[in-house]
Subunit: 430 residues, 2 copies
């Protein structure tokens, strides 16, 4: 059994809850005293830190969401002086300005611990050669897994998000045993392997730790078969810490959430009501140990449910069901999150275009394709081909700049979108 930190991963549930309550109370005291935002929301609700006497009292505290973070950018919610922040990362920024997140030295150590658990849970050891194909830089995926793999003592190949051909060459030459990537990258590698006529047995790969986008059992089976590996899911988000929030063990029956670092609730996304075990709803997370950028009751927009049943692996910490949906309209194309609202803004900047558009997503050989059909305002073009081409190129270029993806744009007569009742429609053919 691979358990990194037996003390905390297999604590009795009452003990975990007592531990969580103490951490929560200390955190609330600190935030109330030091950060005007928290003082304000506590005062508005007429509550004091000492009113949080049990974990269920957390319900008294209002939720936070991305809008709250955005309003307090860049440093309004930081709970330490800037000179104690040793690292900055940010969210992808595809729904607006990226949100800056900060880490103290302890936060970085804790993060590495969390990722070490994630890696260890699926059997990664210091004998492994780990190829990290997540983007390095401001994105938390690359450096997050890097520090975790370093903590485990594995050999790290920090390839970052380079093309699959080059990934495969490195994988062969360096005898990589563990791939850390998006499921999309794993699919790409499987396809390129076939194209280059490389036998999967020439590789030394044995484990794939995949995440940062939703995937399912069908994709898992395909990747496992094509790359001859065991593939595991993990979950994290930059606002909370990055990768390492929850992780699959070898039994693949949900993701273990590190309850010594995070307090989880499931709520009804419409009413905010806290739901019970096994009930599906929006995951809300509270960071219990974060120093630089702690969050109370952060709405993740991810839909899941909680199970407190003990897992076959021996862990007692709760499990969340694999994440498949979000509360917001987001389309994930090859690992990039696309927000229709952002596309809507881009479309609206062109005078000659109408408001309506349809986003068509399909998959060819494991690769996602996006086509956007946009209505033309009647009378704005004199049917000149060069005008069509120009406006198409402008849209493609803006989408490229915003999301770094290639899209197909079709300008269509508005009558052909009359079936769309709202501003946009998403047709996902995957």
């Amino acid at each position: 059994m691979f358990i990194w930190d037996t003390r905390y991963e297999t604590m009795a549930q009452e003990e975990i809850q007592q531990f969580q309550l103490e951490k929560l109370q200390a955190l609330i005291n600190r935030l109330y005293l030091n950060i005007p935002y928290y003082k304000k929301i506590f005062t508005e609700r007429n509550i004091k830190p000492q009113d949080i006497k049990s974990l269920s009292d957390i319900k008294k505290i209002p939720f936070m969401d991305k809008d709250v973070l955005r309003l307090n950018q860049p440093y309004g919610l930081f709970a330490l002086p800037l000179r104690e922040i040793i690292r900055f990362h940010s969210t992808s920024g595809t729904t607006g300005k990226p949100i800056a997140v900060g880490y103290s030295k302890n936060d970085i150590n804790h993060w590495a611990e969390l990722v070490a658990r994630t890696l260890n849970a699926v059997g990664v050891t210091n004998n492994d050669v780990v190829q990290i194909a997540f983007e390095y830089g401001m994105f938390t995926g690359g450096l997050g897994f890097h520090y975790g793999a370093e903590k485990i003592g594995a050999s790290i190949i920090p390839v970052s998000n380079i093309n699959p051909e080059h990934q495969l060459e490195i994988m062969k030459n360096y005898r990589t045993t563990v791939l850390i990537a998006t499921p999309t990258m794993a699919l790409n590698l499987a396809n390129v392997l076939e194209k280059l006529n490389i036998n999967k047995n020439e590789l030394s790969l044995r484990i794939g730790l995949l995440g940062a986008e939703p995937w399912n059992e069908e994709i898992r089976n395909f990747i496992e078969e094509k790359l001859n590996i065991k593939a595991y899911d993990s979950y994290g988000l930059s606002e909370i810490i990055g990768p390492g929030v929850a992780f699959e063990c070898q039994y693949k029956e949900g993701l273990h959430l590190s309850e010594d670092y995070f307090y989880a609730e499931i709520i009804n996304p419409e009413t905010g009501e806290v739901l019970g075990e096994k009930e599906e709803g929006e995951l809300v997370l509270t960071t219990l140990t974060k120093e630089a950028f702690p969050l109370l009751r952060y709405r993740t927009r991810d839909i899941t449910s909680i199970s407190k049943e003990k897992c076959k692996c021996g862990r007692t910490i709760l499990r969340i069901e694999r994440l498949k949906k979000r509360t917001d309209d987001v389309i994930i194309i090859n690992g990039v999150k696309i927000y229709p609202e952002v596309l809507s803004k881009i479309v609206s900047e062109e005078d000659s275009l109408g408001d309506k558009f349809e986003i068509k997503v399909s998959r060819e050989e494991g690769l996602d394709k996006i086509e956007i059909d946009v209505e033309i305002k009647s009378g704005s073009f004199a049917n000149v081909l060069s005008d069509f081409i120009k406006i198409t190129e402008v849209l493609k270029s803006k989408i490229r700049v915003t999301y770094n993806i290639e899209s197909t744009i079709k300008l269509v007569e508005s009558t052909s979108l009359s079936h769309i009742k709202k501003r946009y429609k998403i047709t996902d053919l995957r």
Copy 2:
């Protein structure tokens, strides 16, 4: 005065030499015993480790160069078992297959120390917010500076090599005080600053640590003036360790080489003869402390000279003159090293093209542009425009895949290149 490690940076020269000799002897023993390549070259020359009795005896050992590294890829020159290698990086691979380099845990710590010296020497402290705009991943620039800045305790923004507009936005929002980048990126930032009408005084920037490509006083003055910073040079190469091999101090009179980690010689690149102080020639480096991938007498191809005069900063370690030239034909375009031999190979893959080409490099608004004029084999085209476009696109695409740069390709009649006597000509208009 900012001296990170007074003990070693200000050691008396005789003491340094004694220290170096002991390290060198230990290294040679280890390599002779463990690595077949070294046993072989020692045997061929009829020398034994104990024959190296003084530093000048190093002349008995043959030089190594990139070809030696390439022949022993990927693991032939590694001096530790693979499970003790905790990190891989590689050279850019633009002259052929990238060369894998490996690091033990101690190597990574030493590397961080070296970069900490580099940063500290120009006054970077734990109060600084350091924006690292070098590419992260296999390239040693990003993660190399990252670990050094972490050692110093500075706040790190790991932006990696993203576009200048986004760099500037982060620089403003996060109140960056130190920029770590290529001179080209700094030039780009200066240009974009003017375009976006941002006043340089809105930035909190005070220091630029620039490197990974040759630059000069003129460029330094321009960058210092436009960004309102002090700009410093540093030197390193992946084969040796990455950034941190030599660094400028605040007096900007040559680069201090960390002699406790590296033994430096200057040779005549034609004859291999070891030259004296102040004589210009090729820099040859021996790693004294590297565990995973040590090198004896590695020819860097960089042309410089050595000065042993004590610097005004108090350091006694030798200085190398700023690096301006290399012994090989390399063109540096916006920080990317382009090898004409590689372009020649790309051109030769197209049957309808001749052998000759001219590479024209120019600079517009601080940005380098490359145009390649290639001769067409007479009779291979029936003057069909689509054929010209197709072949141009193929070349551009291959160059893009190899170097990740955009080029302009012109197909020309062979008579117009008759002035070129060799296969190619480089016309550098910068």
